[in-house]
Symmetry: C2
Subunit: 328 residues, 2 copies
């Protein structure tokens, strides 16, 4: 029997889920739910229907796990506690500061419904969090470093697009090589925001716009750019499309720690990702945790969980015996 | 209440466990057990007694988790199923091919005694296995690469020491940079044994020994060296002691995988370790899993487990709430 997956929200993440399902033999895409007019949404998988989000609950017996592909700002805080009343759900809620509150809301609803809700799945939060936790458990005395990039920051790109005279823009977050190297050498540097990352912007200006003014507005924008060394390149719309239409990302989680009676030995644990497509990779993580949600619920478990609460074997379709034989 | 740890076997690993306990506030070293005359074994922690291994079972109510620090060849296959009759145990069994058999033996005994036995803990098997599993779960279509080093291989050093005319020796396993780079670039190379690692040997010859003969014996030794590009350096005993007395190790687990409707996007997941002391790092992993063994058993769980079966949160002393707030 295959695990029947529903996708709620058909943007970049929803499409990534659709692709990921094709790579997992034990899963099938059962339905896609949208807030748009379903007639206007065309999915890639043959035979799969698109429904209005209003019809989702009616299909509660036909879907084993619903993947919630909405945004963290306004969608998921409402959707995850709501849909876990009817479905096992997985979301990619990524507002770090609000995770405790989101967890409590989802946990309450999931305990009442008897379903499993796994929140904050992806790579950060997600795989990066896991690596922080494992590294901290192993090396309790040490220092953590997280670097992001090189990759596209959607939030920063959007911020540039809101500037007067900007037609389109793409922003890359880039880790500073010398900072990474110092960390890897075990030098335990104290790094300011500016020393860790630089920001590179590719901007298409409206005809006749004041480029010097735009550049200044970007570089001095509080929170987004003011604390960073920022480079601005003005390019044509064609160049933006040709060279900057991908959504790559990635990053590094590094922990340097000490062991020994006199703390004489240093150890470096490093985890890194280099991703051609941020949403497709995130989707692939979500799908692995959808498998876990399904299995845990089959075993009678309920409530809200994060990547910290799930034994790794639940993510794989192979049996424990096979995993021990081939991967241990 | 602290978790009371016993150490069975006081070699490099046992001493590493002793150091690691000092870095974890929720643990205390209760006793060390040895096959040697306990009078001849001096531990570093004040107030801790050394007992004969024959007295271990008598202390079953005073120890929450026994860490088994014996070797995989002959000690652990006997010790782990034996001691799990009386204690929660953790071992670092690392004979990959025999893990299924070891698991079954420990599982049977642990299910009968009601204790938890966690086997094959360390970094390979252990953290490397976990990273293979997570990466495979996320990217089902891809290719795995494991590189070891730069580090000291005890087995290879021992093999050199058994050669006639060799007084002492140290062997380093070194990953080939160009192979690593090709993997990181997503080129999915097919790599032979020789293309992945080189071996570098530092040898102290007996006075008057035939060095050319020794070098030839090393380089042509089947399984150990014949399939590798091996370099042999003859050095003095003083040089060996001064420059090669550490036990560093490390390595890389890399998975390259594809996503997308037409598999058009590549992703690289890389995990790496750079360790000053192989046994101390392994010990630090064992201690984290000792915490898990204790907690799982408190919850009523029993049987044999591996790193695949244990939810990450069990490794940390912090509450789920704290972990979500600070690490997710």
């Amino acid at each position: 029997m295959t695990i029947r997956i529903g996708i709620l929200g058909y943007g970049n993440l929803g499409r990534g889920i659709e692709c990921a399902i094709k790579q997992n033999d034990d899963m099938e895409l059962k339905a896609v739910f949208t807030r748009r007019d379903p007639e206007t949404v065309k999915v890639m998988t043959e035979g799969v229907k698109v429904y209005s989000v209003d019809d989702a609950v009616k299909m509660k017996d036909e879907i084993d796990v619903m993947i919630l592909c909405g945004g963290s700002a306004t969608d998921l805080p409402v959707q995850t506690p709501e849909y876990v009343k009817y479905f096992n759900v997985v979301d990619s809620f990524d507002t770090h500061a609000k995770i405790p509150e989101h967890f409590d809301n989802v946990n309450k609803a999931a305990n009442e419904s008897g379903k499993v809700g796994i929140i904050s799945v992806g790579w950060d939060p997600g795989m990066f969090s896991l690596n922080r936790l494992y590294a901290n458990a192993i090396l309790p005395e040490g220092k953590d470093y997280t670097f992001w990039g090189k990759g596209v920051s959607q939030g920063h790109s959007d911020a540039i697009r809101r500037i007067d005279g900007v037609k389109d823009a793409k922003q890359y977050t880039i880790p500073v090589d010398s900072a990474l190297e110092a960390v890897r050498k075990g030098q335990n540097p104290e790094l300011t925001t500016r020393q860790k990352h630089t920001r590179e912007c590719f901007v298409v200006a409206e005809e006749g716009a004041d480029k010097a003014k735009i550049e200044n507005e970007i570089k001095t924008m509080p929170n987004y750019f003011a604390d960073y060394d920022t480079t601005v390149h003005f390019i044509t719309e064609e160049e933006l499309k040709a060279n900057h239409s991908g959504i790559p990302h990635g990053g590094f989680v590094i922990r340097c720690g000490k062991t020994g009676m006199n703390k004489e030995n240093n150890h470096i644990i490093e985890y890194s990702l280099k991703l051609d497509s941020n949403p497709e990779f995130t989707s692939s993580v979500l799908i692995a945790y959808a498998r876990a949600a399904y299995r845990l619920n089959k075993e009678g478990q309920k409530g809200c969980k994060t990547v910290f609460d799930i034994a790794p074997a639940y993510l794989c379709s192979q049996s424990g015996e096979e995993l021990r034989k081939h991967m241990l």
